[in-house]
Amino acid sequence: MRILIAEDEQDLNELMQKKLTREGYSVDACIDGRDAVEYLASGHYDAAILDIMMPGMSGLAVLEEIRKRDIPTPVISLTARDSVEDRVRGLDAGAADYIIKPFSFKELMARLRVLMRKTWQTESNVLEVGDLKLDTASQRVNRGERNIDLSTREYALLQYMMLNKGVVLTRDQIENHVWNYDYEGGTNVVDVYIRYLRRKIDEGEEKKLIHTVWGRGYVLREDD
């Protein structure tokens, strides 16, 4: 899951990056509205967290701008408790949700999961493909009874593929949604991580879940 953070308070911005990265999201961050619009215009983000009170271009203006440009990225707005107006205007301008400052990260993470469920139209936090289960709340992954330990990046990759189960994903798509702009690895990074995942998930299993589609990319599905 790739997320954009737009927050002008540097400390808070960094804290959110740190926390979200730790939770397995790939994160880009900016400190003003104009940059936020540019980032979002790339279309790679699964969600954005926008501070409403930003100098220059406010979060509301960003919302209005991206909706005008038909960028459908769901947005959570950060507002002060004192301003009911901002909250309402944020929702009216097309924000999917709002969170009041000061917030706890637990709450922010829960809201993000709800948002993801809405975006991917899943009912619960648990994603399933065959006997493979991924719980987005506890971040636990199981194959049958077997508990699978994944690195943050592996987790993010698996989550993205499970959300798109049955859909063939190109390397570009995967890279754009799982890695952020700071990543400067080689072009075969996707292949490398797919290999890691296969080793942890499919190795020793009778039924393989990760399939290569020649010339196009990868797909996660139950049947062959």
Binding site: E9, L12, L15, K19, P102, S104, K106
Partner: protein
């Protein structure tokens, strides 16, 4: 009359004054006219009687009598009454009598009550006949060596007055019609002149209902009193808008400047705690987090207070489902496990009042937080909403430490806390103050039942929806 519209008042006063003025004028005219009429009657009488005196002659030589004249044998000769004798003229009846009172010629006079009066030369008298009053005047005509005859004239005292009376009657008939027509005209004029006042009232009402302080009254009637009124109102709106805006800017500035660092502090300590720090550091972070939350809560109340006191925000009052506000707010407290206190809500469905939902939520939150603070271990907090004789009653009761009688008024004061040695620490001291401010804003009455050691019940009685009297 006190509550009548100004245009009605103007019209009524005008009609009253007009009727008075016309009435007085007519009365004056009447009295002058009466005097003039009586004078006229007297003058006419004198003239006719004097004139007729010259028309009576005595002769003993009949051949010299004018053939048209009347001839009356009298004494040894003849009395000649010339054709110039006016026996009925200008209302004067005139007759010729001998000294014994025998009528010789002319008009009979009306039968005077108290008998025919004696002759008195040249003296004007008033006599009564039936219901009428008459002026009476006699004049002696001396005849050389033969004695005298009398000319007696009478005139109805009211004779000339009749004419005036007819005019007055006409006037009295027309007076109400005249007043009515004039009042109608004044009413229309007053309504036209005063209509801007109603327009102004409507515009100002609209501004206050819409709570849009950037609007101004736009009515212009030219350079007159109405324009000064409009200017005064607009000046006031200007100042109101200014203080509203600066109040809002202030709270928004305070909010942003203080909340951002608190957000960072809380977020940082939350993250640090996740990293499984050593015991001492964990304690330190937990204290930072606890105090950070407290600062934040204090800031909430402080800003809420500033808004309520300075009206930095115009709260929109609308129909609110109090039951739903209570149910929603109580649900948020379900996760609270403080002192193992249970929170019970008993709400009647659909109790509606006129108010502001977010303020009501703040009011209830403060009451519940207060109940937790002063509640006892394993206690119960009961929140209820019910309709009682037209009022909506919200009550929050606890079985906590209670409020001493001497503290009952003071607990609603700013920053007041009951006896600090017996009450728990950590209260902000403005929770109940805010509760009262919000209750007052809703026109509600507050009641407190409490016994030390048994608990307290705060009851807030909101006026019925129709009688709330809020704009």
């Amino acid at each position: 009359m006190r509550n009548a519209k100004i245009r009605t008042k103007i019209t009524l006063w005008f009609a009253l004054v007009l009727a008075l003025v016309i009435g007085i004028t007519v009365a004056l005219l009447f009295s002058v006219g009466e005097t003039v009429a009586r004078d006229g009657a007297r003058t006419d009488l004198k003239e006719v009687v004097t004139e007729n005196g010259g028309q009576v002659r005595y002769t003993e030589n009949p051949s010299r009598i004018d053939p048209h004249a009347s001839v009356i044998p009298w004494g040894s000769g003849t009395l000649v009454v010339k054709t110039g004798f006016l026996d009925q003229f200008n209302g004067v009846d005139c007759g010729l009598y001998d000294a014994q009172g025998q009528m010789l010629f002319g008009q009979k006079m009306p039968s005077v009550s108290g008998g025919t009066p004696d002759f008195q030369d040249g003296k004007l008298r008033t006599v009564q006949a039936g219901k009428k009053h008459y002026y009476l005047l006699d004049r002696a005509v001396k005849i050389d060596g033969q004695g005298e005859v009398w000319i007696r004239g009478v005139i109805d005292r009211e004779y000339d007055r009749e004419l005036f009376l007819r005019v007055y009657r006409l006037l009295y008939l027309f007076l109400p019609v005249l007043v009515l027509l004039a009042s109608l005209a004044v009413f229309r004029i007053a309504r036209r002149l005063l209509s801007p006042v109603e327009d102004i009232a409507e515009e100002v009402g609209h501004i206050s209902r819409e709570t849009d302080l950037s609007r101004r009254v736009s009515i212009d009637t030219g350079d007159n009193e109405i324009r000064s009124l409009v200017q005064a109102i607009n000046g006031m709106l200007e100042r109101l808008e200014g203080s509203y805006r600066s109040g809002k800017q202030f709270t928004s500035l305070v909010s942003h400047e203080l909340r951002t660092p608190i957000t960072v502090i809380l977020a940082q300590s939350e993250l640090a705690l996740e990293e499984d720090p050593p015991e001492e550091a964990r304690e330190a972070f937990e204290i930072i987090q606890k105090q950070g939350r407290r600062v934040n809560k204090g800031l909430d109340s402080l800003l809420q207070f500033i808004r309520l006191e300075n009206l930095a925000e115009v709260y929109e009052m609308e129909e609110v489902n109090l039951s739903r506000v209570v149910t929603d707010t109580c649900r948020e407290f379900h996760a609270v496990r403080e002192k193992n206190i249970r929170l019970q809500a008993e709400t009647e469905e659909d109790v509606r009042i006129r108010g502001n939902a977010s303020l009501l939520r703040v009011l209830l939150e403060n009451l519940i937080v207060n109940a937790y603070k002063y509640g006892v271990e394993d206690g119960v907090i009961r929140v209820s909403v019910a309709e009682e004789s037209g009022e909506a009653v919200l009550s929050v009761s606890d079985d906590g430490i209670g409020v001493a009688p001497e503290d009952r008024e003071r607990i609603f004061e700013w920053l007041y806390q009951a006896n600090p040695t017996t009450t728990p620490k950590g209260g902000s001291g403005y929770g109940l103050f805010i509760v009262r401010a919000i209750a007052e804003l809703h026109g509600a009455r507050m009641e407190l039942d409490s016994a030390v050691g048994e608990g307290s019940t705060f009851r807030i009685r909101f006026p019925a929806l129709q009688a709330a009297g809020l704009p």
